[in-house]
Subunit: 350 residues, 5 copies
């Protein structure tokens, strides 16, 4: 939650103000420069952008981890001629996934999503991309496996990354992020199945709150992945820096995003179904309780009335003095019990 | 509420009648004239439009606060050649957000929205804009922070306002209004979270009415912000007085409006989820109450029947005269209680 | 209701049969001829169409009130060369709002809507328009304020009606009808607010039926106003007899129709919310009742058991003969009551 | 129901197999040949297609009643050069309404719908049309009033049928089928109103099943009429054998189909509303029952406790021996009853 | 279920990795080569692709059953110049149905669906097609009747398969798969009808879980068939290897897929309706139980109070000593019972 409040930090500032609106403030900002070509590759952790060398024709991937060093962001803006609006979007972590095409670069922003199983909560981190000729700059709010894997692949010249152009690297990273969506969804799926199983047995209160949290999580999940499908669609239809070859790969990513939306719809349906079962369980339990009460009460209430009768102190109650009264009383009681039993059996209440 | 009734004030009047349909009638109408260029700026509170000076090339922003001075509105119409239909829209506060393009000006109307936390109600005020070459006229139904901030920025030559053209000022004001939407949504979000927390603990009646009011508020919120997204889209696609540069900024505003719609959908989902939890809580509480009643009743009803038996006055009841009858009776009672306890324990009712 | 049955009257007739399918059969059909120009105007109630004079260049408005005089309708068809299909549509009162463009005229049909507060019902009457060069023919199923107002305006040369062309008159009448939609919605709004208030206090059966009737009414309301928005859109986009100037006014009408659809959606949401509150109220009341029963029963049931114990007639019950037994019994009872009270207080049931 | 199972009969057959999948197998197939022009007309029941005479220029309508004579269907295919796919569609009764345009003919298939009031079920029969120059072939699964009426009109030279071309006959038949939709809807409407009225009084179980059946019926109704609207739209937009004149009439039919969809939506809303009222009625009844139980129990339980007290056999109970004890006991009881009465009156439970 | 988890197997692998993500790992992979022309046909089970003879002009259908032999898949890719992306899609069984057009081939993937009636579960198996000039390669995850039937038809030169081109074979297989959808839906339909019938009689817990499983199954069913409709639409609108003649047949398949979506919607509606009836049944049963309890309790509670009165041991209770007291007591009791009976009869509770 706290979706709307993310925007509050920006309220009151003149537009064009570059401002980090997230919470990851205390981690140190890291800059990595990965240079690679088909033949060779190198990874450097650099302190300052001045260390960069722009002379070679090698592909360059500049990875910034941490978004709160505004000066750094501004400097990148200066060096690569990035629009102020783009810089604003990079540091404002409440942006919707979107793509924007500029003369000299393409800007893409999206969210990585993880599912925190303990709190049943979706954790989102913003990742932005600036794709230029031969150069990709990425801005990560937090660490991310996909990025580490890409670095490993480049270093070890594994797979297609080093063989293809810089736009393939962009595809690789997006694809990795979308794969992580599937990981998150798998965990949600398992959680739903757990609840499904336990709701069949017995339903307890805390589960329902889990169901509610999952429901919330799925709405957020959809809101953050669905615009990405649209974004990829925009990339596919724009004549941009992305080659036709890479677009074929991106088309696959888009298909996966459509599947994700379908899965979210499916999970939502399941959650609604689970709630209905829960409701029905509660009603059934109530019915069972009430049936027990009713059966007991209606059997004993007339019997107790009978004992009351013969507990009265009227002078003239002839039955009291007959020898067979007491045994007959018991027979009457048993008769009533048996009759009631048949009555309830008939009604299928016992 | 009272949405439809706002229109009633206009029913029966010939169309083209300029009529203020709001309630802010007693405040005095203020006219502010802000003249600015890159070099200098001035703010004047003027009494009459005749005081204005149209000779200079400076950018002019005329801000009218209060919509009930029909003569003033008409005079502006005369001076700037504004269509009667536009003037009608400015003073009729029940208009949907919309943009209209005329030969000599662009007309835009929208709502500022605030969330009244005490009454859980959305408060809306109408703001209209007439954008002309070098001149922007704004019509506010009520005071507004964004407008004050814009004035301050212009005076102090802060940010981009004074450096850019008059259409940037329009963007700045719209952006401020949209930022205030986020403020309102944040408050709604907090309210929902409050209710969410309290519904987990115990559910009381007044909360449900708050939920209902929030639900109502969100529908109104959506109805008043969603058409604005469409309106901005129209501006972006129309070849008008708005420069391409400003359109880039407006595109960001549109993204924010899409986010707002998504947030409203999200909150609606949460409210429906909260209601479901409330329903389930009520059922659970009922189950608990009924279980208590059933357990107590079914334990004591047969015992009371037993006491009834031995309270009867039959002459011939041999048990009554045996020495061990009374202790045996107690043992029987305890046996029944223990049996019942096991029975309920088994059913998980205790 | 009785929506589908309106069509039954036409079943079995050859198509092209002009047939009045409404119920307003006994009122006399009135024909009014209003002739006007910028300078002068005249209103005549005429008996027969032969009295009309077609020589002058003045604008002519022929208003027919009552649709069951089929001969009259046919005669109009002959005189003005109206298609048989159009005449069929004029008298068949179950038509959806729609516009049709013919070579020599434009045909428009729509509904006036009123809200009958006593029966909580939408009352619809059909109005059809045939717009030709200089002439407008209107067909009313029943009387209507808007039409009277238009006549008054023309006679008194008030407003723009007499100053503009005949298509402005058409706009004026449509605008009036749409204004009446707002009047109907205002009444619905008030009704909903009444129910809203009373449902907060106490919920009684008849209210829920009112809610149901309102729900039904809103569906009908939407079904009859929503196609009109589409119809106006068609008029705006067709190169027809309607001037650009009048289209600007009609655009405003369309905006109002969109607002009406939004309001209906809003009211529907409120009604669903009210039903949810009602449901929750019923559950809460049940909980309260059951709590009362449970508290009373569980306190007294063990006490009654105790009295039963000491009402037994066993010979050897030593307690019965002790002096302090009775006071101790009372102390025990009070102890049980106090214990129970604490137990229920803890559970928040008292 | 049994919607999906209709397709089963075709599974496993090579496509292009002409196979009747309905149940009307035992009725004899009838072939009628209606020949007409503006001047004269004739109807013949023929045994074999060889009896037909193709020399005259008169309009020809061949009406086949019964779809299970596969040889006949194939022969028609041979004579008129009908595609095998079309023949397949004619005999496979589970087809959706659709139109297909071939070089030499237009193929249209749709359903006639009737409402069986006793079983609350929609009965559908397939009708297919092959429209060629001067010739219309119709394939009916079962008898149908509209077709009889068309024959009568042609014979008696009534209405426009005999005066217009063969495509007008097609329109006439479609219009008749759509009119029968309104008849079916009227019956559904009446049924809903019946239930509506009875649910207000008292709700019994069988009604709810009727509501469920109506709900099912409406979904089927929509699924079978809604594609027809689309189909007519396709005919209107295709440059085919249908003349512009007839298209004007078909446009009216399309408007009616839109109305039908709106009515179905309306009835669905009503049915959901009725279910909500039913639910609320059930809850209210429960509340009433529980209130009765609670009032009775809570009044008498303390009284019974009191009688228990003074039924105890303690030796030392001083009250028992006082003269005014018994009358005082009664006064106490009446006091408790009165107090309880006030308590329940206050709570509005009595 | 386990929808999202299917994707997990691919996470972490470089894209372009061909990886079987299903579970059918232990079955042996079979390769069948079917060669046919109008005159002759042959079926061969081959061990290796090297056995294939590409010299003849006969139509070739290569059917691979089992997707886990990655080397085989790669070899096919080499021989027929299939894109790596296509090969990836063939072995990744979680793909959505889709079509892709390449220069030398068309790639189509879809699911066969079966309904496991015992577990109330949809079982899906992936089938992929690569259509080239004169050659069709099919990849089946598991055995399938439709494929066997096609082989039989080709061998026996039955129907149109052997007479038409290779794209007709593709159509034939797709049509068979869609027919199997209808088979699955028929079984679902029967299941729903079973539940429908039993829910009318008496509602038991296990049924509701069946309803839930059916609901889940329908969502999956729709998610896997609905994109296929879109896919066929794409094929129909692409100028590809598919002939116009075959497209006519595919159009029919598309109509069937639309029907399937409509049926799924219909079943979903029924399931929701069934749940509502279940809910209402539960409430009705509760009402019945509570009524029984209330009637019994309220009749006997006052009677028991009366017996309590005359069981008290007050010294001075004059009634106790009157001769007619006891009979009068019984008359009073019967009077109360009769009065209560009338009261409940009035309320329709008995």
């Amino acid at each position: 939650m706290k979706q709307a409040r993310k925007h509050l930090k920006k309220v009151g500032y003149p537009s064009g103000t570059i401002l980090y609106t997230g919470n990851d403030l205390d981690k140190e900002v890291e800059i990595e420069l990965i240079t690679y070509s088909k033949e060779k590759s190198s990874i450097k952790n650099i302190k300052s952008l001045d260390e960069m060398d722009f002379s070679s024709d090698d592909l360059k991937w500049i990875n910034i981890r941490g978004l709160h060093d505004i000066d750094l962001i501004k400097k990148i803006g200066d060096i690569f001629k990035i629009s102020n609006l783009t810089l604003e979007n990079i540091t404002h972590i409440a942006e919707r996934p979107k793509v924007e095409f500029y003369n000299n670069y393409m800007f893409l922003t999206l969210k990585t999503l993880f599912f925190d199983e303990d709190n049943i909560e979706i954790i989102q981190k913003q990742v932005s991309f600036i794709l230029m000729h031969n150069t990709l700059i990425t801005f990560q709010e937090d660490k991310n496996n996909t990025f580490d894997m890409a670095k490993k692949r480049i270093c070890e010249n594994e797979g297609l990354i080093a063989k293809k152009n810089i736009d393939y690297l962009l595809y690789f990273l997006i694809d990795g992020v979308v794969d992580e969506y599937f990981v998150a969804l798998s965990k949600i799926e398992e959680k739903i199945e757990d609840i499904e199983e336990s709701i069949v047995g017995n339903s307890q209160k805390y589960e329902l709150q889990e169901v509610y949290k999952l429901r919330k999580g799925l709405v957020i999940f959809k809101a953050l992945t669905w615009p990405l499908e649209d974004t990829i669609y925009d990339i596919l239809n724009e004549d941009s820096i992305i080659s036709e070859d890479t677009k074929k790969y991106l088309k696959d990513v888009r298909d996966h995003l459509i599947q994700i939306t379908e899965l979210v719809t499916f999970y939502r349906e399941m959650i609604l179904g689970i709630f209905d079962i829960h409701l029905s369980n509660t009603s059934n339990k109530m019915n069972q309780i009430m049936t027990t009460l009713t059966v007991f009460s209606t059997i004993f209430i007339p019997l107790t009335f009978l004992t009351g009768i013969y507990g009265m102190n009227f002078k003239y109650m002839p039955e009291l003095y007959l020898k067979w009264s007491y045994p007959l009383f018991w027979i009457l009681c048993l008769g009533i019990i048996f009759g009631m039993y048949r009555f309830f059996k008939n009604k299928d209440w016992m």
